[in-house]
């Protein structure tokens, strides 16, 4: 197994090296996507199936699609380094030496690192019964450290606003002038993969309480369903969002905050769930979060305020 790990780690390093130094930007993007696959594999090897799921759905999947689509949308002459040449040779050498030194130091430190026996994580595993769910990562995300998760939803929302303010939609508002997706297989894809993605996404959200899965992985897969529809021209960007869409966008963060504030007078602390109701509250919050994540990721992809079904 050590050989497998070694080859995997070596491949990741080679891919990362090609990704940052490739002469061609497109090559860099492709290599980045493949590196996502390898990372997911290595995280599976490192006892982190939750993260392998997240990497597969968000890191390699949605981000890869977004990178490719962005590259496609760039004007041809801006796809290469001509206007942005890499740093001069002297800087490159200096940076190279500095990063080799940095890498060696980090490698030595990681090799010598002896994690603490009574880390907070051991405490979390020990008090899992109080958390309402069996899955430790979900317990941390939605109970022990739910505050981080809540703020992270704010990050997602603000990133979306930023993307909208740049006004560079990837999904055109009008009829798509598309030469690549008029294939007869596209409808097949739209009709088989979309429901499957929705089904798997919803399953992952629910499964998060018991095993690998959760709001983020599930939400990303649900968002992926939307992306498929956009790519197949079953959905297109819209300059305005209806109130329903905006409600879905903020549903997660709002329900989270309101539930948290409600617990202040009831339980004396923000987001301290009343005993006995922990599980239902967490599942409800999880589904709201997943909905908002899915819609946010979809709109981050389209770069538009809303989406609509095109008129035929």
């Amino acid at each position: 197994m050590i050989l497998f790990d070694g080859v995997l780690a070596l491949l990741i390093v080679v891919l990362a090296w090609r990704c940052v130094t490739a002469g061609d930007l497109y090559l860099g993007i492709v290599v980045f996507i493949v590196m996502g696959l390898m990372l997911a594999l290595s995280w599976a090897r490192l006892d982190a199936p939750d993260l392998a799921l997240a990497e597969a759905a968000i890191g390699a999947g949605l981000l890869g699609v977004l990178l490719l689509s962005t590259w496609r949308a760039l004007p041809g002459h801006r796809r290469q380094d001509r206007d942005h040449p890499p740093a001069r040779k002297a800087v490159r050498w200096l940076a190279g030496v500095a990063s080799v030194a940095f890498g060696l130091v980090m490698a030595a430190l990681l090799h010598a690192l002896q994690p603490d026996e009574d880390a907070a994580g051991a405490l979390a595993l020990g008090r899992l019964t109080e958390a309402g769910v069996e899955q430790p990562v979900t317990a941390v995300l939605l109970n022990f450290r739910s505050y981080d998760t809540l703020l992270e939803m704010g990050v997602l929302l603000m990133a979306l606003i930023g993307a909208l303010l740049a006004r560079t939609p990837l999904a055109p508002y009008g009829a798509a002038t598309d030469d690549g997706t008029d294939s007869p297989l596209i409808p097949v894809l739209a009709t088989t993969f979309t429901p499957l993605l929705l089904l798997v996404g919803a399953f992952l959200v629910w499964a998060g309480a018991y095993g690998p899965g959760g709001a983020f992985q599930g939400g990303a897969v649900l968002g992926g369903a939307g992306v498929v529809l956009v790519l197949c021209n079953r959905l297109q960007g819209a300059p305005e969002a209806g109130i329903l869409l905006r409600l879905l966008l903020v549903l997660g963060v709002k329900v989270f905050i309101l539930a948290g504030l409600l617990m202040l007078p009831l339980e004396g602390a923000f987001m301290a769930y009343p005993p006995g109701l922990t599980y239902p509250i967490m599942i409800a919050i999880e589904f709201c979060l997943a909905t908002s994540i899915a819609v946010s990721l979809l709109l981050l992809f389209t770069g538009t305020h809303g989406v609509r079904v095109p008129e035929r």
């Binding site: 010598a112 109970n143 022990f144 704010g154 303010l165 903020v250 709002k254 948290g260 602390a269 923000f270």
Partner: protein, 481 residues
């Protein structure tokens, strides 16, 4: 009830921002007013509660550290929240006009700004290393879209560069947090100190990653390259918020970590190096400010310089340096917001902000220019002003610790600040206009001129209110120096 206030200080503005985003332009006439007033009110509540009863702690979810995340409102956090309330409140008044019903993107502005307000308060209150990372990202990802509000065509390059540096800085910080967790098995600021101190080279590298990451975020020289274009290009209200509060948040974290978990690692040489970075920022920023042709860039480079003063705390690390550095943060925040709002008024009126063409403005824009001059007094560090008190405290600390070279930096920084402020004022006041200036906009209404003036007057008033504020701050945390 008082133990709830830290939560409210975070979530009243945050939730208000989310509601603003959802409700859109329909509520633009009244919701921002309500939200700002409520936020200022809870911030003042927190201030009085801490002043009366000492620090407040709240365990999120009822889970105590190291399992959960704590919010801690101590003196330092409280004065920063107070600063945010004062600057934020007055900038909000300005923004009611500048980003009111006439601005098509008003809803986005208010959603982002209110969420940013909550995020800043969350950052100040956070007592958990990873939670600090999340709040840092929140603050950054709110700040960058705000820069874009000036029109994506004009500011996108600056915003993109800001994003790149900010992302890299926070990931570097996160690398430090990862090592720290490996060493300490905890993320709480109060618990990780001993493990970092005993961590040998790992502890040192972890601390270095966190500190360098924060230096990038704080735009400390030589990582300042992203700041001037972003702060200079943003709308006036946004520039004021970014310069007065957002970059300061990263410097605040440096102070907090240095006097908290990293206190055992603080080494004389490293401290001198931090001081040297600060000194370089002061000299470089001031000289650049003097050379700029656009008023907002003068003010933006001035921020690069002024942040340097707060770093002078590190080599001295005595009580007076602590008070001086924090007080400098407060007075600079208030004064810099006044400068940016005043510069924004010039821009509204003239349609440009070229320093050489400010002639003859003293008639039409007297209130804004007066605000600029008064705030300039505090930036220069002349008495009576908050800037003076801060520099005086730092000067005394440098003499007390026998590090006279920082005194030289302090004095030359003041002189350079005088040079760039007077350069602007000379063009505006002393050169007789041959003809009235060509304007493109209306004279900004009082609701846009008054916040600048009030902030400038507050910068002066800080020269008289040092005692209660320093009492609220409390002394240098134990174990430092």
């Amino acid at each position: 009830m008082t133990e709830w206030v830290p939560v409210l200080v975070v979530f009243v503005p945050f939730l208000a921002g989310v509601v603003q985003f959802m409700a859109g332009r329909r509520v633009i006439a009244w919701w921002p007013v309500l939200a700002s007033v409520a936020t200022v009110a809870v911030s003042l509540w927190l201030t009085f509660a801490v002043a009366a009863g000492g620090g407040i702690e709240h365990f999120m979810g009822g889970w105590q550290p190291p399992l959960g995340i704590a919010l801690r409102a101590d003196g330092l956090a409280t004065v920063m929240i107070l600063l945010t309330a004062v600057v934020g409140g007055l900038v909000s008044v300005y923004a009611l006009e500048a980003h009111g019903t006439g601005d098509p993107r008003a809803s986005h502005f208010w959603a982002l700004w209110l969420m940013l307000w909550g995020s800043l308060n969350a950052l100040f209150l956070s007592a958990d290393l990873f939670n600090i990372y999340v709040t840092l990202e929140l603050v950054t990802l709110a700040a960058i879209p705000l820069v874009l509000l000036a029109g994506p065509e004009k500011t996108v390059t600056a915003a993109l560069r800001y994003l790149q540096f900010a992302l890299f800085g926070s990931l570097l910080y996160l690398a430090g947090v990862a090592l720290t967790y490996g060493l300490a098995g905890s993320l709480d600021l109060a618990l990780v100190g001993p493990a970092l101190t005993d961590g040998g080279i790992t502890g040192a590298v972890a601390a270095t990653c966190m500190v360098v990451g924060l230096l990038v975020k704080a735009a400390v020289f030589p990582f300042h390259v992203w700041l001037p274009a972003a702060h200079g290009g943003a709308p006036a209200a946004v520039s004021a918020i970014l310069s007065a509060l957002v970059v300061k948040a990263a410097v605040y974290l440096l102070l907090r970590l240095w006097t908290g978990p990293l206190a055992g690692l603080a080494d004389g040489l490293v401290a001198q190096l931090m001081g040297a970075l600060g000194a370089a920022a002061i000299l470089y920023g001031s000289i650049q400010a003097f050379r700029q042709e656009r008023l907002k860039l003068v003010v933006a480079y001035s921020t690069v310089a002024q942040l340097g003063y707060m770093l002078l705390f590190f080599p001295m690390a005595v009580a007076q340096a602590w008070e001086g550095a924090v007080y400098h943060g407060l007075s600079h925040g208030v004064a810099k917001a006044a400068l940016f709002l005043a510069a924004g008024n010039v821009l509204v009126y003239l349609g440009h902000d070229r320093v050489r063409d400010l002639k003859g403005l003293d008639r039409s824009l007297s209130v804004s220019l007066l605000a600029f001059g008064i705030a300039g007094v505090s930036i220069m560090g002349l008495p009576p002003s908050g800037g003076f008190i801060a520099k005086w405290l730092l000067l005394r600390a440098s003499l007390e610790t026998g590090q006279w070279w920082w005194a030289v930096v302090l004095i030359s920084g003041g002189l350079l600040a005088a040079a760039y402020i007077f350069r602007v004022l000379r063009y505006a006041f002393l050169q007789a206009p041959d003809r009235p200036p060509a304007t493109t906009g209306p004279i900004p209404p009082p609701i846009m001129a008054l916040p600048a003036t009030l902030l400038a007057l507050l910068a002066i008033a800080l020269g008289f209110t040092a005692a209660p504020l320093l009492a609220l701050l409390g002394g240098l945390p134990e174990g430092t120096g």
